[in-house]
């Protein structure tokens, strides 16, 4: 195709440390660029959720909230992240690549034959940082609860377990089974992030099946609930700080962060458009998107 262009992945990697809010912008931008490049090369995949949640991932992985060893991810005592919304794999892969756990250039293999970057995460591929396979919605959060139970009640360590679900995903009933058990087992080491972009494949979430009010539901299920702007680094930091405080103070309450985001955020023509849930950009669109991200 004449409009194809050479795709190159930057090799810069970022440290995981306490940061000032403005320091996250270049990291989130780097994640978004990798997502766009990987998706245009793949020719299929999900654009909207990954781009919309890139700011959350930047803060969670690079702000000192999650502890991991990029050189020995699975061999180390670590905090865990479970991507319950498996279709958002590109943002998790791009984020992990930006830690330096695997080369960012490997993003070019997304969804390709024999890749470690499966269309939906496959733990069997052994990609550093991928804790569990996911893709059938509603399951990752229960897995995360099991991990948090293991840390808090059996190994009795101070590890944290993070889990991100979509907002359409919480239509799955088993999500609420997991939520119920997180507070029943007093998992203050468990942080549930809901990527609240209000979009799912068929349309706006309240029209497909209304999940609101989410905040009150989570509160009723025993969570300390924080609503925040999922594109504000300051608000995201405050939310993760409160989760850390909950754990340190032994509140016995799990934390839920309802991060208000726009699907496709960062790329103007995708912003807040549910049509971008499950498709990749064309080469022309990718060129425009990358141009915007580079400005």
């Amino acid at each position: 195709m004449s409009s194809q262009f050479a795709v190159e992945f930057d090799s810069t990697v970022y440290e995981n440390k306490r940061r000032f809010p403005e320091e996250f912008a270049p990291i989130a931008n780097s994640i978004r660029q990798d997502i766009v490049k990987a998706l245009v090369l793949a020719g299929s995949g999900h654009s909207g959720g990954p781009l919309g949640s890139s700011d959350i991932f930047a803060v969670m992985y690079f702000g000192g909230y999650m502890r991991y060893d990029v050189n020995n991810w699975f061999g180390s005592s670590r905090d865990r992240f479970v991507l319950s919304a498996g279709h958002m794999a590109p943002v998790m892969y791009a984020t992990i690549a930006n830690t330096g756990a695997f080369p960012r250039s490997e993003m070019a293999t997304l969804r390709k034959y024999n890749t470690r970057l499966q269309g939906h995460p496959g733990r069997d591929m052994g990609l550093p940082g991928v804790e569990t396979s996911s893709g059938s919605l509603g399951q990752g959060i229960s897995i995360a609860v099991g991990m948090a139970m293991s840390d808090k009640h059996l190994d009795k360590n101070d590890h944290r377990v993070f889990c991100l679900t979509g907002d359409g995903e919480i239509q799955e009933g088993s999500v609420w089974e997991a939520a119920m058990s997180a507070s029943h087992f007093k998992l203050d080491n468990f942080c549930w992030i809901i990527d609240n972009n209000d979009c799912q494949i068929d349309g706006r979430v309240p029209e497909v099946m209304n999940v609101y009010p989410i905040k009150e539901k989570c509160e009723a299920f025993g969570f300390d609930v924080i609503e925040c702007n999922g594109h504000s680094y300051t608000e995201l930091m405050n939310a993760f700080d409160r989760f850390m405080a909950n754990q340190q103070n032994g509140t016995g309450k799990p934390t839920a962060i309802i991060a208000k985001t726009y699907m496709g955020h960062g790329v103007s023509f995708m912003n807040d458009k549910f049509e971008w849930h499950g498709k990749p950009p064309s080469w022309e669109q990718a060129a425009v998107a990358l141009q915007e991200l580079n400005n």
Binding site: V82, G122, R123, D124, E131, T132, S133, S134, G135, S136, G138, Q139, S142, I143, A144, V145, G146, M147, A148, M149, S150, D151, H153, L154, D155, G173, S174, E177, A178, M180, S181, F185
Partner: protein
Amino acid sequence: MQEIQKLGMKPTRFGFGEGLVELGTRHDNVVVLGGDITGSVMTSLFKEKFPERFFSIGIAEQNATTIATGLALSGKIPFFASYGAFCALRNADQLRISVCYNEANVKIGGGHAGISVGPDGATHQVLEEVAFLRTLPHMTMIVPADFEEAKKATIAMGEMVGPAYIRFGRSPVPMFTTADSPFVLGKANQLTDGNDVAILTNGWMVWESIVAAQELAKRGIKARVINVHTVKPIDVEAIVTAARECGCIVTAEEHQVHGGLGGAVAEVVCKNSPVPMEFVGVKDSFGGSGEPEELMEKFGLTWKEIYASALVAMERRDKGSSGFRMVKDVAVYNG
């Protein structure tokens, strides 16, 4: 033929419960998840002994299965037990994606399996799960025959690495194995010698098969009864040898005739050494209320069906196969 003694009656679920306690004693990282019916599926024994390693999840089989996955991915050996109707099928997607695709070291105990649940009726009489579970990559699937075997199987599944499922029943069933009887996962046990017909079976139907073999012996027919306690991985060698040496096979199981042990054996036989086969099991129907023995009779799960099927299988073998005729009420292919 050699005598196999009935050593009393006990439910296989007791073996599961005792096996769990033994595992808990041997391994600190064995944990158990309860699904509200801990007394029925005997996880209550573990709960009493190791309360700090027991977690009650309530009536939420999907959640329990995936929590077990999280525990397994954190280095624990979690057992979750409920009724097979709910912990093999209600949570089928969780077993497929979370447990098996992750190769998580999750162990499931499916109780109250088969028609012999009795009065509870069709909703609780799971007759389909063997067919589903044995198609899952990485899954090990065990159907023990009696108390001692259930105990050994439970310990063995806890000490192997990878997803495993054990199926056990509610009602007391004849005991005929002892603590010293051999048990190796994936290795079928030949119980009687004979080359006239092979009866491949598991669960309660093993005892019925032994009785059928004793009755056949009275007619001078020597039946080879093989206890195929592990449906996956299946003992290919034992099946192929039985097919070659006996020339016909009957399978007997407390499960739908489709897709369970009979299906697993047929796959091996067709590929390696095709011989006539007859299938004893529930014939594409749901169960119903009644006493276990009444139901086993009604649904054709006694030694009598195995006996009759053995005769049919032998006749088909001896006549060759070049046409259809009606045997019992089933169309079979023969000369």
